[in-house]
Structure formats: C-alpha cells, structure tokens
C-alpha cells in the first residue's frame, strides 16, 4: 500500500511533465541503443578479424625449428661436461626438418583428452613454373578431412571442392592470386619444381582465399601423400603436427609440456599471434569508453530535468511534507522518478539497440579479402545487454540521487510562508 502510494504519486508527477520525461528517457534510450549497437558491431568485427587467424591456426604447432643444438657435443662429453666451455661460431646444424617419431606422437596426442584434434602436415618450398618464369611458393601437404573439421578449410576454398584433394590423384588447390599469376583455371595442370629440382605436373582442383592477400600469393595445398611423393620422402615424413585443444587458454602451458615430452619445438597460438589480442583489447576499450560516455551524458540529462522538476514542484513537495510525508518519502518519490525514466529509456534502448544491430547485420559488406563474409558482422552477445542495463541503472540512480536529496531537504515552512 505504502509503495503503491509512492508509485502513484511518482506517476502523477511524471505525467504532469510528460514532454520533459520523454526527452530524458529518450536520452537514456539513445545511450543504450548506441552502446549496444557499438559493442555488438565492434565485437562482431573483432571476432571476424581474430577468426581470420584463430580459426585456421592450430592452438599448438609441433615442429623442428632450424636452430643450433641446445646441448653442444662438448657439453655431453664425460671429460669436459662439468667445465665451462666457450664455443665460438655456433651454427644451426644440417638437421632433418621432420618431426621425429611423428606417428608415435600423433597417436599419443589422439589419446590425450585435452586435445580436440590432431592433424599432420608436410610443408615445403616449391617453384611454380609458368612459361619461362619460376614463381616461389609454398606447398602444404594436409590431411584435408582434419583441416575441414578443425580449421574450417572449406570456408576459404572459394571455387572447387576441397574434398577433390583426397579423391583426385596429384591435385592441388592454389591461392587465388597465385592462380591468377599462373593463369591456371580449375582443371588445368600446373608444373611444380621442388628445391631438389624434381618437376611434377599437378591438377588444379580449387582456389583458396584466406583474406590475407600476401599469404594467398604464395600458398598452395595438396594431399600429404602427394607432397611426400614430390619430395621423395617416406610416409613417416611429417614437418608439422597441428594440435587443436579443447580449451585455447591452456595452449601456452600444454605447448611447454609437449615440447618437454616429445623433445621437440612447439609454438602456441598466443605467442604466435600476440598482436591480435592487443588490437582486440584496444578496440574493446574504445567502444566501452564511448558507450559509457553516452550513458553518463544521458545521466546528466536526467539530473537536469529532475532539478527543474523540483523547482516547479516546490509547492507539491511542501504540501506533501506538511501533510505527513517525511523527507525520506519525498526522496523515494524522486528516486522513483529517476529510476522510472531510466528503466523506461533502458527497455526502449535494449529493443532499439537490438533492432539496429539486426539492421547492421543485414547490410551488405563485400570485400575481396573476406570471401565468406557477405554482410557486416555483428556479435549478439547478451553480455552487452546486461552491461547496458547495469550501467543505465547506476547512472540514473546517481542522476536521481542528488536532486532527490535536495527535494527531501526542502523546508515546507519557507515555501508555504514565502507566498
């Protein structure tokens, strides 16, 4: 009953100044709308750009780096092992590039329940021959089924069927810009020369386009067995083992563990792509800052309007106090006014923000760099809506608190006698 009475008085005061109330609420609505739209859009873009890297980068890559031996032979000898040895002109040795015991490692990793998927890869440098020209490029022997399953390989194949790599002997998928250079259409045969001078004809079955043009200019993909054949290596020759984990955040830790366990080199995704995390967090900070500024400005709007309302409603406040409403009751009424404006504006803002996000989500956005993206990316994360609601309630609470306190301190005697 008591609360109902306060709400009734609040609504009467609000409806008496309908236009100002609406203006104040629209301020909040605008703030919330822009906050949600901005964050959804910004994070949609962030996820898209990060996805360019994270979707097709293994969480951990196991390989053998070209590096000088960590334990030089002299340190291993019984005679000199305990002395301090100065070795000059250390060079990387002419070691093999394949991962030792690759098949054993792969079967061990497949049994590890922290690991989502494992795929092997043979990477090598080749020359693509067109007329009298040799174009330098890379050829990746991949396990096409695993790539499609774990790294969305098919998203980036813009023409042709990626599964043809498996079903067609001696086939190749070329990066789109590379194919353009070679004037190779699907179904054509391109000549590939290895560093050792062996020359092979391979049939083009598709184009690959990642969104990073420089990368696409040099890349090509073939079956693992095809690349092993070209290189004249046995089936155990694997240069990279790519691991996808269940939890990406465990990558740095597991990476070290695998390096120790398999006595080889590893690299985790966070180390390989640190710059993307930086970019993401900076963009996030900017969009939160802008969004919160909008809400604070809306808070000032409410503050102003409440202050004005208190000046206009001095008589009402005085009479309420004279007839038995305590200062605390008056304060509650004005807090309710502020929160009422805030909540009404907030609900409208949530709806409008969602609608605007959907509109952006349907705007066409076509770029050669991102073949799979047709419209602007928007991230519909409920978290942004929760943050927006929390912030609007906090700002309207404080915007209401100061005028409400002022109203609660109005001295009825001064008002009533002042006439």
């Amino acid at each position: 009953m008591k609360t109902r009475l306060l709400i009734e008085i609040t609504l009467s005061l609000l409806s008496a100044r309908m236009r100002q109330t609406v203006v104040a609420a629209v301020g909040v609505t605008f703030g919330i709308t822009m906050f949600i739209t901005l964050l959804s859009f910004m994070n949609g873009l962030n996820n898209l750009l990060d996805g360019l890297i994270t979707n097709r980068t293994p969480h951990i890559r196991i390989f053998r780096d070209i590096a000088p031996a960590k334990n030089q032979p002299v340190n291993l000898s019984e005679t000199y092992g305990n002395t301090y040895n100065f070795i000059q002109s250390v060079r990387a040795s002419n070691g093999r590039q394949e991962v030792y015991n690759a098949n054993k490692i792969i079967s061990l990793l497949r049994e590890d329940n922290r690991v989502l998927g494992v795929s092997e890869k043979v990477a090598t440098q080749v020359f693509f021959n067109t007329g009298t020209l040799d174009i330098t490029g890379f050829m990746n022997g991949i396990d096409i089924e695993a790539e499609m399953k774990f790294y969305r390989f098919s998203d980036y194949v813009t023409a042709g069927n990626p599964m043809d790599l498996k079903y067609t002997r001696n086939s190749i998928i070329l990066g789109k810009p590379l194919a353009d250079k070679l004037l190779a259409k699907i179904g054509d045969v391109v000549q590939v020369t290895t560093a050792q001078g062996e020359r092979f004809p391979l049939k083009v079955v598709g184009y690959y386009q990642s969104g990073l043009s420089d990368f696409d200019k040099t890349q090509s993909f073939a079956n693992v067995a095809t690349v092993q054949t070209i290189l004249g290596k046995p089936a155990s020759y694997i240069t990279d083992i790519e691991v996808k984990l269940r939890d990406i955040n465990t990558a740095p830790l597991l990476s070290k563990e695998f390096a120790r366990q398999f006595d080889t080199d590893t690299e985790d995704i966070q180390t390989a792509n640190a710059q993307f995390e930086t970019g993401t967090s900076v963009r996030n900070i900017i969009s939160y800052a802008v969004g919160i500024t909008l809400l604070i400005v809306a808070g000032f709007g409410i503050y102003n309007i409440l202050n004005m309302m208190i000046f206009e409603k001095m008589d009402t406040i005085a009479i309420l106090k004279a007839t038995g409403f305590a200062g605390a009751d008056v304060k509650k009424i004005f807090m309710l006014i502020s929160l009422g404006i805030g909540i009404a504006g907030c609900i409208a803002g949530l709806l409008l923000g969602n609608i605007l996000s959907h509109i952006i989500d349907h705007l066409p956005f076509e770029t050669a760099a991102l073949p799979t993206v047709k419209t602007f990316p928007v991230d519909f994360n409920p978290l942004y809506y929760i943050i927006a609601v929390a912030f609007s309630l906090i700002t309207t609470y404080f915007a209401g608190w100061f005028p409400a306190r002022k109203a609660s301190r109005v001295d009825p005697v001064v008002i009533i006698r002042g006439k």
Binding site: L13, G324, F325, A326, I416
Partner: protein
Amino acid sequence: MESIILQAKDISKSFRDPVLMPVLHHISFEIKKGEFTSIIGKSGCGKSTLLYVLSTMDTDYTGELYIGGQLMTGKSDKALAHIRNEKIGFVFQFHYLLNEFSVLKNVMLPALRLNKYTEKEITEKAMRWLENLGIEDLAHKKANQVSGGQKQRVAIARALINDPAIIMGDEPTGNLDKKNSRIVFDTFQQLSEEFNQTLLIVTHDTDFASSTKRIIEMEDGRVISH
C-alpha cells in the same frame, strides 16, 4: 473532556539572518480539546511563526512543545512527519492542493500515507467529508479546475481525513472574498460545535476572531492576552 491537546512551554525563537532578531518571547499557553481558538495580532507580530513552530514543521526554537501529552521537541524528521500526518490537519492561506490529482485523491492522500484503513474505507470517509462540506459533486474534478472557495473547503476536508487532534489554519480566509470567508468560517464553526473539533486559526480578520470561543492576542512576539 477537558484534556489538553496542545501545550507550549516557554517557547522562544529568533531569526538569525541577516542579524540575530528575536521573534517569539517565552510563549506559554495550552489548548484544550474542543476549543476553537484564534491567534490575532498585527502583521509581523510572530503569529504565523508561532503557528509553524506549533505545527512541528519549524523545529528551530527553544522551549518545549507537547501535542496530546507527547513531547515534540527534539524528535526526528520522520517521527514529526508521522505526527503531522496523524494528529494535525492544515489549512493554509493559499490552498495548496496537488494539481496532479483529483479533488478526492487530494483529500485521501494523508490517509493513504497513514495507511491505517483500506483504500475503500478511506474513499468512503473522504466522500462523507466532502458531502458534509457540500462539495461532493467536485470529487472527480482535477484540483486546478475548482474555484478558490471550493479549494479551501477541499483543503479542510483533507485536514479532517485522519481525524486529527487539532486543525491548524494560517489565514485560511485571507485570500477569499467575503462570501467564501463566511462559508469557511461557518464550516469551522460547524466542526467545532458538531464534532467537538479542536481548531487553532491564525488570522488578522478581527470579525473572524471575535466569533471564536477564545482569542490569543499577540504583539511583538509576546502573548498579551489569552
């Protein structure tokens, strides 16, 4: 029957702004149940100031104030608001109805605040008072759509809604023409006689005052006769 409703003991008050200026000097008197009292005096003699001290709205004074035997001096804002709500009805010179509400709602507000009866009972009671004062047909009009004399009667109905121990009026006829002044006075008279209602009215209208049972006369912040 002769119980004391209101008692002022040695009440003094000074305005501090711009210089210390005493306005009330050691005022002591009491008002018994059912008395219809008026306070008269020249402009600036402190009669309104005294009324607001007695009303508990002004707490900046020395001395002691008792309402219904309870000490008011030194009580919290909240406790005083509750006492005003329950025990005191106000009628001001300017009618001070809430324009956002209907006449009926204006009358009901203090009772809704008190929250002692259900809304239905309060509505019935408010309608009864409006009928008694002859303005029941105004009940559903907005407060700003009724005339000055009518507003003052609405204010009286509002003052009565919680069956207060005392009704206080600050120049309730000061802003009304003769005819309406008469109606308001007759209303007070009727309340005093029919309902044994205690009334304390500040006025500078000597005609009004001379018709009341008791007159407290003030001059320069002192009670000179009561």
